[in-house]
Symmetry: none
Subunit: 137 residues, 4 copies
Amino acid sequence: MITINESSGVPIYLQVVEGLRCEILGGVYGPDDRLPSIRELAVGLTLNPNTVARAYQELETLGVIYFKRGQGAFVAPHTKEERMREATKEIIVKVRELIESALRLGLSRDSLRDIFQECLGSKPEKHGQPNDRINRD
Amino acid sequence: MITINESSGVPIYLQVVEGLRCEILGGVYGPDDRLPSIRELAVGLTLNPNTVARAYQELETLGVIYFKRGQGAFVAPHTKEERMREATKEIIVKVRELIESALRLGLSRDSLRDIFQECLGSKPEKHGQPNDRINRD
Amino acid sequence: MITINESSGVPIYLQVVEGLRCEILGGVYGPDDRLPSIRELAVGLTLNPNTVARAYQELETLGVIYFKRGQGAFVAPHTKEERMREATKEIIVKVRELIESALRLGLSRDSLRDIFQECLGSKPEKHGQPNDRINRD
Amino acid sequence: MITINESSGVPIYLQVVEGLRCEILGGVYGPDDRLPSIRELAVGLTLNPNTVARAYQELETLGVIYFKRGQGAFVAPHTKEERMREATKEIIVKVRELIESALRLGLSRDSLRDIFQECLGSKPEKHGQPNDRINRD
DNA sequence: GTGGTCTAGACCACG
DNA sequence: GTGGTCTAGACCACT
């Protein structure tokens, strides 16, 4: 399910975009599967249909989905590998930016490496953070 | 020196904030040193004084600087260790967010580890990316 | 046979309209011949009967076909010359619009002439474009 | 000046897009020139700002303009040649579609050639069409 | 002042 | 039912 964080500063329509991309990547919707209609999703997420429509439009220009007139939106038949490559490229860009800003703030590469290790080592448990060493302040 | 990227999407005043924080961390300005005046910096960076003023305001609320009426802005007398801890905490939050979004996009922890290693291994050369393995696709 | 391109942006019912007009012009159906019923055509093209019905309606208002209650749709007894003149008029209108928009975009009349020559010179082969000179870049 | 035809069926925001593209191509706005603000243009064309904003967004994704936060929209510094090539490619696609539909309607290549010649030969005079031969019906 | 986002509600074309 | 377009008006962040 897609979750919307209204106070995160991230535009809602982008959260919808990312949420749907994840579901498609995760196999919730296979190639040429029909996505929920704009109105349905808008009701489900208690959003304005325009906001959802904007997300769908974004996904269309990204080539992730396509529309059939009067029938709805469908998952574009790209291979999972293609989409993984796309996702990986985006993450790499973000990692680079993060590293750059961290270095500018004066952190050493070694401490960054440690931080990565700590954060990555954590299991995705909902409650309780095993990395208290990092968390304390 | 602070460099401003007008088309990076990052608000200019935040670029100024980060730039000044780096200079302070780097020792360009010591505790209780006077920072350049808003006007001076605005002229130096060819920015609107309002933008620089907003950055200074932000730095004040962050506790990094303080103002003396009629005299200007001064570096708050925190220890360098304190500021490093602050910076580290911020980076950790960002790393966590990045990891979370990457996992949601379907990347494995192992591939993430690899990406970190690759990007971290890169020397901070300005031009040219040594990590062609990652860059190509 | 009529071919439907679902993702061409052209409304499906208009594709049906044009397809039938071509068949009538081509002599597949002569004056006062009975056209396939809406249901038959819908099944044959795997379309919604509503869509085909709308195409027939359009053709009726265009004067290309007429209906007999309970019997179906029939080709209106216009001469082939009349229909050709109609078709020609429509094409001329489109050509004018195209030229106008091209001129507004800054193309010269001479380059337009060249483009026409190139595109017209192409044989109506289904696959492969002989005009690589234009296509490449 | 941009003119909007409300009853042409063409979405208004696309008319704005094409209008601005023409003005940029025509040199009304040079590289890195500032375009009228969304609100200004909306008032000038008596459109809703949202509609104009959508046109500007479209132009941004097309790479024709770029935004500076808080300052407005500016013409992207592409060469006129690049833009001409783009425009030419689009026109070629349209010409091909037009020819194809004309052939399907039964017109011969020769008559098409004649129509092109007639329409192209016409000078862009506002009133009176010299091509009465084609116009009569 | 600038653009960006969101909501609300309307109308339309299409299937 | 579907999405597409448009308007109106609100609030926000940034310069």
